[in-house]
């Protein structure tokens, strides 16, 4: 699609009545992305639902160009450049990519010119120099609440019988306050604190104020886990669940639960974004995803960050008062976090080459097997699996290994839940998100650089999560202690101290 500009107004090539030179949208300057609003115009409600808070390509919209253009002429629809050039280098406005290695050019049949496109977000449809991004300009659709008569029960009401621990209570009111005042807040909650419940009051408040919310997380499995929980406690509203391949991509909902990746299709959509596991891969290293989250916020909006393990920069900002935060230093079951023990195990890699494990490691594993207590053994590299498994299978035939690309990953985790595996050897893939009730955990080679401070805190956080079994052993076998190990232990100890001071745990 090419456009001409007449009196600073875009005119698509097919709608030109006089002959006029046309250009790809990125080559045009001085045009209005949005025209003055015409209050007499009646917009198409289906289009409004589709496009509010979004940035979509023409190819993604099942509406005719005539209809889209009429909405532009009446001020209801925005055309933005998909690619802009800043000092001759390209920038993708959908995903924020400025790395020139991720741009390529070709002679394009649509604009009959050489067209530059972004390879970074190509999987969501190609954005090139002749591709406009379309957004809705006017007021958002009436939400279900506004169309309601007074005597009905408010549909955004929270239906939840549970109670919050005092630690959760404090965090919950801070979250509601930040959402109400459009502020940013970090919720630093220990592993197993019960983060989701802390959000309920804030979500209810936002919904009742007709605000649009999004809970974003880097991982699809978390979206799948959270959706039914939130639908259950907010049964009166529509909740959209978005991940690669989900069917609800075009549902307008007051509450959206989405992978951070899917936010690339949103533009100034949300009054509140709750961002889960800010420190987790891939969000923490992918600038595209960070851009997507920023882009999906309204100019005035609240941002709630959730994490058990903020990185050092964030921790420093909290200490120096530069970042608003609230901690939940204790688990809901009022037991302290298990503190890791450091045990030196010598040059374990050298031993492993000789098909041996350090004696103390082997001893620890044997004890778990003998007492029938399930255990996880974290190792730094997949390459070590084969040798370790060879040694361990002689102890017990059902011992398994699991890693990120393991085709049987889901099945093995399920077997572990069903207690059919006594010991699971794993990479850091199981550092978060999994709960096995009665568990001991060991790390072999805790000195490896892959075991960062946050990875080690998360790993330790697998132990003692259930109220029934609040204790367990967490042990770091190492060949030289590292800064990360020391910091991780310090973080856990100081959370326990804080919890004790605030009376959030029962010390026995």
């Amino acid at each position: 699609m090419k456009f001409a500009v007449i009196e600073e107004k875009l005119i698509p090539e097919p709608f030109l009545t006089v002959k006029q030179t046309t250009f790809p949208i990125s080559s045009l300057d001085h045009f209005y992305e949005q025209l003055p609003f015409n209050p007499q115009f009646t917009p198409n409600p289906a289009l409004k639902n589709y496009l509010t808070g979004k940035q979509l390509l023409l190819d993604e919209l099942p509406f005719s160009m005539e209809e889209l253009y009429t909405h532009y002429e009446n001020g209801f629809l925005i055309f933005r450049k998909g690619i802009v050039f800043e000092k001759k280098s390209a920038k993708c406005r959908r995903c924020g990519n400025t790395d020139q290695r991720y741009f390529a050019s070709f002679y394009c049949s649509r604009c009959r010119e050489v067209c530059t496109y972004c390879r970074k977000c190509l999987m969501m449809g190609r954005v090139s120099t002749c591709t406009p991004l379309l957004s809705w300009a006017a007021e958002p659709p009436l939400s279900q609440m506004e169309t309601l008569s007074d005597n009905e029960c408010h549909p955004a009401s929270l239906i939840w019988e549970g109670t919050l621990s005092p630690g959760q209570e404090t965090a919950s009111s801070r979250v509601a306050e930040a959402i109400g005042n459009n502020q940013d807040l970090l919720v630093w909650a220990v592993c197993g604190a019960g983060k989701t419940e802390v959000l309920f009051a804030g979500i209810e408040r936002a919904l009742k104020e007709n605000k649009r919310l999004c809970i974003a997380t880097p991982r699809t499995d978390v979206v799948l886990e959270l959706t039914p929980r939130l639908r259950k406690v907010f049964p009166g509203i529509t909740t959209a669940s978005l991940y690669g391949g989900s069917e609800e991509r075009h549902t307008y909902a007051p509450l959206t639960i989405s992978t951070t990746h899917q936010l690339l299709r949103f533009y100034k959509a949300f009054d509140t974004i709750i961002l889960d596991e800010v420190d987790a891969f891939p969000y923490s290293v992918d600038e595209t995803l960070q851009y997507a989250v920023r882009n999906a916020r309204k100019d005035s909006s609240a941002m709630i960050y959730l994490t058990a393990t903020p990185d050092r920069k964030w921790q420093r900002e909290c200490r120096t008062g530069k970042r608003a935060f609230v901690t939940i230093p204790a688990r809901y079951h009022r037991h302290p976090l298990p503190v890791p023990r450091f045990v030196w195990c010598g040059n374990w890699q050298k031993l492993l080459r000789k098909n041996q494990l350090p004696a103390n490691v082997l001893q620890w594993l044997k004890e778990r097997l003998a007492s029938d207590k399930q255990a996880l053994l974290f190792v730094p590299k997949i390459a070590l699996f084969e040798k370790i498994l060879l040694i361990l299978r002689s102890l017990h035939p059902d011992i398994e290994t699991v890693y990120a690309e393991d085709p049987e990953r889901k099945e093995k985790v399920q077997k572990m839940r069903d207690k059919k595996i006594p010991l699971l050897v794993t990479t850091t893939i199981l550092e978060r998100g999994v709960t096995f009730p009665n568990l001991d955990v060991a790390v072999l080679g805790a000195e490896d650089h892959i075991f960062t401070e946050s990875a080690l805190v998360q790993i330790a956080g697998r132990v003692g999560r259930s109220a029934q079994y609040p204790k367990g052993d967490i042990i770091f076998f190492h060949y030289g202690r590292t800064e990360a190990m020391v910091r991780a232990r310090k973080q856990i100890v100081s959370m326990n101290r804080e919890a004790e001071e605030e009376g959030l745990i029962d010390v026995d």
Binding site: R101, A104, F106, C108, L122
Partner: protein, 235 residues
């Protein structure tokens, strides 16, 4: 010279050897791990369509060609219209993914990954004009480019646009029978002079050979001396 792999995005540095000082380097676009997943067509192949015969069940082999080609050649309507096909790689899972990224997602620069091989093979073939199999106008607009033409251009070869294609359903949604008994979708452009020329048709994938044979038929009908073909993948 470091680059990012066009397929997996990993950065890699090609190993430096003496030959990299003395020879003109062919730039590589795939990292060695991805490159290794490409499976060149090799060994015994059908003399007509270059289908690898070694992995084929004996009942589908007829002497030095496959039974598919034999069937085509037994039909007087199709006999001898088309010389031979040459394909670079077996259409395995990896190539399937990479071609889908290339033509359905529209990642044009994937064509560069094959430019060296295509240029090398084209040099060995005997032809006057290289004709990319065209897309219909609608499909070409939708994709923004013709993948066969892209393969040629990136290999530094000059495409000759001899054919038009009428809009139809997607080929990939049809069975072999439907494809063979397809109505003719190609026509030779009025302005294209191909009389007495040796034509090399270029397409991305060879599946049943129906597309190429239909194109060959109209080209021969318009006076071409001979038609053969080059495809990236052999399905």
């Amino acid at each position: 010279m470091s680059g990012i792999c066009l397929y997996c995005g990993n950065e890699w540095i090609p190993p430096v050897s003496w030959s990299s000082f003395f020879t003109v380097d062919l730039p590589s676009y795939l990292c060695p791990e991805c490159e290794a997943l490409l499976e060149p067509v090799s060994g015994m192949t059908c003399k007509i369509c270059s289908r690898p015969l070694e992995k084929l069940d004996a009942q589908f082999i007829a002497g030095d060609c496959c039974t598919d080609c034999k069937r085509w050649e037994e039909d007087p309507e199709w006999r001898g219209l088309w010389q031979e096909n040459h394909s670079l790689y077996v259409y395995n899972e990896f190539l399937k993914e990479i071609i889908s990224l290339f033509k359905f997602r529209g990642d044009y620069c994937i064509a560069k990954a094959f430019s060296g091989q295509i240029a090398r093979v084209a040099k060995k073939m005997d032809y006057d004009l290289m004709v990319p199999v065209p897309l219909s106008k609608e499909r070409q607009y939708e994709r923004g480019f013709n993948q066969s033409e892209a393969l040629l251009i990136e290999a530094g070869l000059k495409p000759f646009h001899a054919l038009d294609r009428l809009h139809g359903e997607k080929q990939s949604k049809k069975s072999r029978r439907e494809r063979i008994h397809l109505n003719q979708v190609f026509q030779v452009k009025a302005e294209a002079n191909i009389r007495g020329k040796k034509i090399l048709l270029v397409d991305d994938i060879y599946t049943t050979g129906s597309t190429l044979r239909h194109a060959a038929k109209v080209l021969i009908g318009a006076g071409a001396k001979s038609v053969s073909s080059l495809t990236l993948a052999r399905g």
